[in-house]
Every structure is written in structure tokens, then in C-alpha cells.
Amino acid sequence: MAELNAFITEETIEGADDGPLAGTTVAVKDNISTEGVRTTCGSEMLADYVPPYDATVVERLTDAGAEIVGKANMDEFGMGTTTETSAFGATRNPVDPDRVPGGSSGGSAAAVAAGEADLALGSDTGGSVRCPAAFCGVVGIKPTYGLVSRYGLIAYANSLEQIGPIAPTVREAAALLDVIAGPDPNDGTTREEGADSDYAAAADGDVEGLTIGIPTELFEGADEGVVETVEAAVADLEDQGAETVEVSLPSVEHAVAAYYVIAMSEASSNLARFDGVRYGHSGDAEGNWNDTFAATREEGFGAEVKRRILLGTYALSAGYHDKYYEKAQDARAWVRQDFEDAFEAVDVIASPTMPVPPFELGEGLDDPLKLYLADANTTPANLANLPAISVPAGESDGLPVGLQLVGPKFDEETVIRAASAVEN
């Protein structure tokens, strides 16, 4: 188990005796609060932080009978595509230990792929559930914004992130979503949707008559082996009675830039709370509040977190706010509009989840932009608040390839149904 480094903390939290998840083990990403069990966000800053309460999703897991087996490794504060920015060391991909498991929920996906947990929870701000699911050859769902409570999720970029399930099969991921979905008075962004869901029943593998949109923008520039594998999986859905239609999403060319500007801006504000006074690492520097604060943050945060806080501060600063932040909000609205238009004609939109196969360990660490660009296909669903799933499409050169399906708002059933047919 130590070899993969899938867990930051291995501690058991028992669930109720009965329930839909009785007898099931679950790994929980380490940015989701567990009462009495340390929750580090993969950061030195929170290495000793022990939450005084449970996240809503943790309560729902244990009420449903699940046994939590540990807190899964992750990129620091969810900022990364490889799980290499964790202060607790990189997680390895169970399929090929010289490669990354993807990120930021890499520990969650690796634990499920290696059988160290039956199921897992991750969080997805720009692809952080779907990317590691694709790289490790398992299923991951990013729910519609507002379907799952974020109460107790330590915030990175609130307007984008959702907690989502990771599982070996579509049906198991859907069943876990059934447990965590639905309104929560402690998260005002949740809605009534999901209250009495039966997403698991939608995993019936029936795509007869389903219309699948194929956006050229999300295939162009992707790795050849990845594209071939995804196209073969789509052709298989056609053989099962689905119809494919080309759709155009011109806005998605700007998704990565818009996503990073918005996420970094929100992060710069959210992470201002880490001052070493109320919780977290505290520096010993002498001097006034500002000096001590800055020294604490220098010591507690890793490079990627500093990079995003600084760029977010810059994007929001006087003179640049309109140029970056306002334009990013325009791009976000444009992406949303593009998807709405496309869903007039199609039921779901298919693409590779990741445009590339899993990176080798260390491959992208010196080139942050290269890693950001790998989020090209996942960030649009976060910007548009839409449900998306990554399901294994096959292998290319012995490495897993994920097929992503995006659906209309709160239409989790359709993406789950379509994804379950990929498994046929």
C-alpha cells in the first residue's frame, strides 16, 4: 500500500450497520472534513489540522453503512493534474508505477484501481475527478453544480467545484452518487434535485435512439492513440443503436484560460484564511502581523499553490481585473451558451477525457502551462456547471484511455446511461 502512496492517513471510520453501502469500503479525498481524523489537503499548511465536524458527504457515507478506510492523497489544495504537488509525496499509477495517476484526486482513483478501497470520493474543480479516473482506468463523475453538498469541503474555487464519486463501474459510481446527492441546509448552493435519486437504475446500458454530439474542438490536437480509442468506443455505441452528430463548441478554445483565471482568483481569496493563527502551520518569524503571515505562508504552501495565489492576486488587482477576470467571466458565459445550443440537438457530448495518456512521473513539474493545457477537455463542464462522466474506453499502448460524456444540467441519468453502454 505504501508503494502507491494512495493514502495520506490510513484510519478507519465505521459506518452504520445497515444501508445501501453496508460492507463497502470508501477512500475519501483529504480535502473533505472528517471529524477527529486529520484533513491535510495534501499541504504542509494543514499537516496537523483535525476538523471538529464531518462534511455532509461523510455523514451520508457513514449513515449509508460505508466504512471509510482512509484519507486519499491529492495535489495540494486540489491544485494539480498529477498528484505530484502533494506535500506527502506523489501517488503512483497502479497501471504503471512510473506514471502519475492524474489529479488532483489521484489517491482516490489509485485506491479504487488497485482495490485498496471499493469506492472513493474526489472533488472536481476543473477535472480533478475525471482526469485521475481516466488515467487509472476507472469511472469518475463530476455532478451538476449544486447536486452535491460542499459543506465541509475545504474550498479552492467555490463557483466551480463539486464532490464526485469514483468507482470501478458506472453502476457503482451512480449508486455512490445516489448516497451523496441532494439538498443540504448547510450548503445554500444545493438544490432540490437529487433528493430521491435513483441514478444506479439509469446504468442500464440502453443507448437505442440516443443522440451523441461529437465536438471537433475536443478531438483536435489530442494524442493519436487516445483519439483512436475514443472513436472506437463511440463507434461501438453506434452499433448499439446510438446516433452521432457533429457539434461545434467554438468557445472551448478559451476554456483553459478562463478556468485558470477564475480558479486562481477564487483561490487567492479562499486561501487568505491560512494565516497560522486559528489553525494550520505557524511560522516563528519575528515582526508584525504582515511579516509573520507572509513567512507562515512561505513555509506552509508549496510552489503550485503559491503560483496560483500570486496569479489570482494579479488577475484581480487594479488595472488587470477587467482584462483578465471580467473577460474570463464572459468566456464562461459563452461556454455555457455553446453547450445549451448544442443540447438543442443532442442528448450528450462525447470526447476524450484527457487529450494525452498518463504523464510519466516528473514529466511536467517544471512546465506548469503544459499541465494546465491538459485540462482542455475537462474544464468546460465546470465552467458550464454541467454533469460529466469519465468511463474507460480502452487502452492505448497499454495505458488507460477515458471517454468523457457531458450532459445537460441535472441530467445525470443520461450521462450515466450512455456511459454504462460503453461498458457493454
Partner: protein, 109 residues
């Protein structure tokens, strides 16, 4: 990173690697000060280089048309009722330093 108008001029689709305008290390230091994050000299140099590439990519946002942002958002309210919160002990449990039931921080000036 220094002059907005200059950057907009060479923005149109010019995202080729190496075409990035250099970012002044002093500006990295200035933003780090605003964000209350100390950096060592090596970090400043690395960030200056990386920020040039990243900001160059963000330049493409200049091509985005102004878009209607209407969303069906409603305020979510609840009655303002007294509920149980954390005890003082629980609230202070993670504090690096506390005194007489208060958080203890560094001096303000």
C-alpha cells in the same frame, strides 16, 4: 505584466512558446507582497519565467466577445435562529497559540 495596452496589442492569437513578454521579477515580488507570501530569490526568478508563459496564454481571452451572463439565480434564505455551534474549546483546538480562551496572533504593527 507591466503595461496593459502593450500586451493587448500583440495579443491576437500570438501564443507561440517563446513569444511571451518577460515578466519583471520586481513585479512578482510586488504581487507576492500583496498576497502576503514571502518568496526566496530562486522562486522569484522561476515564477517570473513561468508567469510570462501563463499570462501569454491568458492573452487569448482578449478575443472573447462580450457575452450575456444572465443566470437564473435566486437568494437562498433561512430563518435567523440560534443554533448550536462549536464550543470555545473546539474552536481553539487547532490554534497554534491561544490565551485565556482567545486566539493569540502576532502584534499588528
Amino acid at each position: 505584466m507591466s503595461d496593459t495596452s502593450d500586451e493587448s496589442e500583440d495579443a491576437a492569437g500570438d501564443g507561440a512558446p517563446g513569444a511571451a513578454a518577460a515578466v519583471d521579477p520586481e513585479e512578482v515580488e510586488h504581487v507576492a507582497e500583496l498576497a502576503r507570501v514571502d518568496l526566496d530569490d530562486e522562486e522569484v526568478a522561476t515564477f517570473a519565467e513561468q508567469f510570462a508563459d501563463i499570462l501569454d496564454h491568458f492573452e487569448a481571452l482578449d478575443e472573447v466577445p462580450e457575452t450575456e451572463r444572465e443566470e437564473e439565480l435566486v437568494n437562498v434564505m433561512r430563518p435567523d435562529e440560534v443554533r448550536e455551534g462549536l464550543t470555545q474549546e473546539e474552536a481553539l483546538a487547532n490554534a497554534p497559540d491561544s490565551e485565556d480562551g482567545f486566539f493569540k496572533g502576532p502584534k499588528v504593527s
